[in-house]
């Protein structure tokens, strides 16, 4: 991969809240670690039709089984609300 441009160095320095002198910008411009060559080399792999993955092995979300159950009675629900009005839960105004 080619060396960074001076603007790219200034941009990533800004991301890290670093002040760099022009000499330092020039120095960092050429200090590529070679790591990005790995990213570049992947372009040679044909991944047409391959779905991307997030993890190598299965990842299970932890959810209870989705089974119908008996809902709470209206009075029980209202008893837990901080403020009620008849059969409704009163909330602060969210839209004027």
């Amino acid at each position: 991969m080619e060396s960074l441009t001076a603007d790219e160095v200034r941009y990533i320095a800004k991301l890290a809240n670093l002040y760099l002198t022009e000499d330092e910008v020039e120095m960092y411009r050429h200090q590529l670690t070679g790591i990005l060559d790995h990213v570049q080399s992947l372009q040679e792999i044909d991944t047409e039709g391959v779905e991307p993955t997030g993890h190598a092995t299965e990842v299970n979300t932890v959810l209870r089984d989705d089974e119908p159950g008996t809902p709470l009675e209206r009075d029980q629900v209202l008893a837990n609300a901080p403020s009620t009005s008849g059969e409704f839960i009163r909330v602060r105004t969210v839209l004027d």
Binding site: E8, I12, L15, A16, N17, L18, Y28, Q31, L32, T33, G34, I35, L36, H38, V39, S41, L42, Q43, I45, T47, V50, E51, P52, T53, G54, H55, A56, T57, E58, V59, N60, T61, V62
Partner: protein, 472 residues
């Protein structure tokens, strides 16, 4: 029994002595403390030594065991933690200046589990800054030196975890592995380091580097010890959604399986053709030993495996930048040049490139699964090159990114991409006396088979549990 004789025993042997009341945990803790004191100025393996807690916990363990409450094989065994792991009321620095005052509010889940099993914490172990590097150079916490030759690196990033175990300054330790950071230092220091299947050991309370490739695992003198430690630390935690909810096996269940009839895959390319001749010879000698004990060798073609390290790096640097972005904005000046530069590189990976890397990963996992069909595990060297000196891997103004040691993770990273269980164990020494690592990598969730095979090899050879002369 001298301190060295005692401290070079495996956790399993020490556990048997403790359970039969032939050894007191207090005696073992005192010997460990003396060894830490003796070796710390030489190796710099520790960042923080829990001297008082070590003695106190040992006394408690002694009381419990005397009272008939023996908790199991790790009861009274001293264990060190890589300094990425939270211990309540202690600093988790990640080997950085950024987190030097970061006091953990709770124990990591693996720490809770180790404490419940009766293990005794020795302290936090040195590492490469934020685990984002493969040498044992650390400009904030000092370099970790290799017990087999203090001029050489231990490799990283779990540098202190490997050096402490090799030196008897901890009977066992915890490491983390994102591209080889358990297995590479295990190989360089002649110990046994196990990277479990991805998701088997949950990571709650352990600092992230690259969440889809980070693994926590044991670093011990033997595979049997790794299995005992896995029985304690493995398992799901709700705070780590990537941790598996499977029912896990007893990780010691295949320790007696032996090698007979085992189908070992020998890659015909990449791993062996790139390895140093001395490393190649030692690993092939190990292969011959296993074959003579009844293992069957199967040649496996995997020309695509070379892309594994590139996929590993591409995903790693992108995820590491995402992990560090805010912290980098706030404290960028406190990072070392080398780590900051890698994070800068990570900032340049585009979303499209990241997704392409994840596609390449899916393809590689599929290819690997096909190659593994019909074999129990792959046998390869852990690293391709001999362990370089600290001087050769140290960044300087003229040489900010030294080339020495860069090849170290070439063989390990692919198994972080696929998430397969992978172990490194010693199988010999180079002509200048440095350990050589043999790597066994199995099928996902067949961790017990990998541990069992490594144990079988260690039972018929004398390469494990050797004492570096600097540590006597």
């Amino acid at each position: 029994m001298s301190d060295t004789e005692l401290l070079m025993k495996s956790a399993a042997e020490l556990g048997r002595l403790i359970s039969s009341r032939k050894l007191s945990p207090v005696e073992l803790a005192a010997a460990t403390s003396r060894q830490i004191e003796h070796m710390q100025p030489v190796l710099n393996a520790y960042i923080d030594v829990y001297t008082a807690e070590l003695q106190h916990s040992a006394v408690e363990a002694e009381k419990e065991i005397s009272g008939g409450n023996y908790r199991g094989p790790l009861h009274g065994i001293p264990a060190g933690l890589k300094d990425l792991v939270d211990v309540q009321a202690k600093v988790t620095s990640a080997g950085s200046a950024v987190l030097k005052n970061n006091i953990a509010t709770a124990d990591a889940t693996i720490v809770e589990r180790l404490r419940s099993a009766g293990a005794i914490l020795t302290g936090t172990l040195n590492l490469y800054e934020f685990a984002f590097g493969i040498s044992s150079i650390n400009s904030h916490t000092g370099d970790v030196k290799n017990p087999w030759n203090v001029e050489r690196m231990t490799a990283g990033s779990s540098s202190g975890s490997a050096a402490a175990v090799a030196a008897g300054a901890a009977v066992m330790s915890i490491g983390t592995d994102t591209g080889g950071s358990i297995r590479m230092p295990a190989a360089a220091c002649g110990i046994t380091g196990f990277k479990p299947t991805y998701g088997i050991v949950q990571r709650n309370g352990v600092k992230d580097l690259s969440w889809s490739q980070d693994h926590v695992g044991p670093m011990c003198r033997t595979a049997e010890d790794c299995a005992l430690m896995m029985n304690v630390i493995a398992g799901h935690h709700i705070a780590d959604p990537a941790s598996t909810t499977r029912i896990l096996p007893d990780f010691t269940s295949k320790l007696d399986r032996g090698l007979k009839g085992l189908r070992l895959g020998l890659p015909s390319d990449y791993f062996f053709e790139r390895a140093d001749p001395q490393i190649q010879a030692a690993v092939m000698a190990a292969v011959d030993t296993m074959r003579s004990e009844g293992a069957e060798l199967v040649e496996v073609d995997m020309p695509w495996v070379a892309s594994g390290r590139s996929i590993n790096v591409a995903i790693l640097i992108a995820e590491a930048f995402a992990v560090h972005e805010t912290q980098l904005e706030n404290s960028g000046h406190l990072y070392s040049d080398a780590v900051r530069q890698r994070l800068f590189d990570g900032s340049r990976v585009t979303a499209t490139e990241y997704i392409h890397a994840q596609r390449a990963r899916a393809k590689l996992c599929h290819q690997m699964a096909e190659a593994m069909a019909g074999i129990d595990m792959l046998v390869t060297p852990t690293v391709p090159v001999q362990t370089p000196s600290l001087a050769d891997v140290r960044p300087t103004l003229d040489r900010p990114t030294p080339s020495a040691g860069k090849e170290f993770p070439m063989f390990t990273g692919v198994f972080n991409v696929t998430g397969q269980p992978s172990i490194s164990l010693n199988c010999g020494f180079t002509s200048d006396g440095m350990p050589i690592g043999l790597m066994l990598s199995g099928n996902a969730f067949d961790d017990a088979a990998v541990l069992g095979t490594a144990h079988a090899y260690q039972q018929i050879t004398a390469w494990s549990g050797l004492t570096p002369t600097t540590c006597i």
